[in-house]
């Protein structure tokens, strides 16, 4: 039997390794790497010291500690998703503007070539 804490710890370690490796290869921007490193670190701490998490749950008045885990995890993922939607929107805008510029520049080039 492997306990839930061991699974959490293993997941955290895997996440840490993958993120560190990705940022070492410059495959992930630092600002996103930081988010996931912090998440993995927090999970690792709670996996090693479950009593810490339980104490925290009781401190904020949650009777069943896993409930707190579920709620915080969901909220965190929601915030991240909204954040990404926002960033994708900005990227789309920028790509579109670039595409328009390319179209106009190509037209200028065609016109210049036609003049010669």
């Amino acid at each position: 039997m492997i306990g839930v804490h061991v699974i959490a710890l293993i997941s955290a370690v895997i996440t840490l390794t993958v993120i560190i490796e990705l940022s070492r290869r410059r495959q992930i921007p630092e600002k996103y790497a930081v988010i996931w490193l912090v998440v993995a670190a927090v999970i690792a701490v709670f996996a090693i010291f479950p009593s810490l998490f339980n104490a925290m749950a009781h401190a904020v008045g949650v009777k069943n500690p896993p409930d707190l885990l579920l709620v915080t995890a969901s909220l965190f993922l929601l915030v991240i998703c909204v954040r990404f939607s926002f960033e994708i929107g900005r990227l789309e805008d920028k790509t579109r503007i670039l595409a328009e510029e390319v179209a106009l520049l190509r037209k200028d080039l065609d016109d210049l070539a036609a003049e010669d």
Binding site: A99, E100, E101, V102, A103, K107
Partner: protein, 253 residues
């Protein structure tokens, strides 16, 4: 392409956004040049997979090719920026599928007056001339949109999604900076932007012809989707910040 007087002493750039319209675009260009011989025609090839650009060039149009599909709004943004850079007095948008009658281009341009405020003249399909059939759901959505836009612009409008429009110089300047690129927003939100900038919208009845090519997007499911989008758009537009801040980066050559 040099601006020269074409209608009532004004230079005219006719912008034709085209996506895979190789079969119809030549006829449209010929018809435009026949009815307004001194206009320049600019086909914005919005990522076509067929010979639209080649056919358009052969038919006597200037061609700009978008590197990938940007939608009608994105194609029009390119048209506005080019019209601004080259110094055209008016820009007329005409669809490439042949449903707009180019004989009406002069009518639309003629409806622009000499004021320096931004002006748009819409060639409207439901304004009496000709017959035009659309499914009920779509028609309802269009009517709701039209009523709301009439209130915002202070003009009685019946066909706000029509892509048959004439813009004066001030409107070209305005839209070169901030023409909306999203679906629906290009035709509808542009009118809101114009109204906010103190501009004027007019509507002129035009005849619509059967499309020369291309499938009309009018199934019931599509119409329902359209209604949902219109509702969402109207809901959002009530809260939306009125500004060009989101898309005003970068200037044209």
């Amino acid at each position: 392409m040099t601006p020269r007087p074409a209608v009532n002493g004004r230079s005219v750039l006719v912008v034709v956004p085209a996506l895979n319209e190789a079969t119809s675009v030549a006829g449209v260009i010929a018809a435009i040049l026949y009815s307004v011989p001194d206009a320049d025609v600019l086909v914005v090839d919005d990522g076509s997979k067929d010979d639209t650009a080649i056919v358009a060039r052969a038919a006597g149009a200037q061609v700009v090719r978008n590197p990938f599909n940007l939608g009608v709004g994105g194609a029009m943004r390119v048209g506005f920026r080019l019209a601004l850079a080259k110094g055209y007095d008016t820009l007329v948008q005409v669809d490439a599928d042949g449903q707009h009658d180019p004989a009406d281009v002069a009518t639309l341009v003629g409806a622009l007056d000499d004021s320096d405020d931004p002006q748009v003249v819409i060639g409207a399909r439901f304004a009496g001339a000709g017959n035009f059939e659309v499914p009920k759901a779509r028609r309802l959505a269009m009517r709701i949109l039209a009523r709301r836009l009439s209130r915002i612009t202070g003009t009685e409008l019946t066909d706000v999604t029509s892509g048959f429009r004439a813009h004066n110089r001030a409107a070209i300047v305005l839209f070169a900076d901030c023409y909306p690129a999203d679906y629906l927003a290009d035709t509808v939100e542009s009118l809101v932007i114009l109204a906010d900038a103190g501009g004027r919208v007019q509507q002129v009845p035009v005849t619509m012809r059967a499309r020369e090519a291309g499938a009309p997007s009018q199934s019931t499911l599509r119409a329902a989707e359209y209604l949902a989008r219109v509702t969402l758009f109207l809901g959002l537009s009530a809260f939306r910040r009125r500004s060009s801040e989101r898309t005003s980066e970068g200037a044209s050559s």
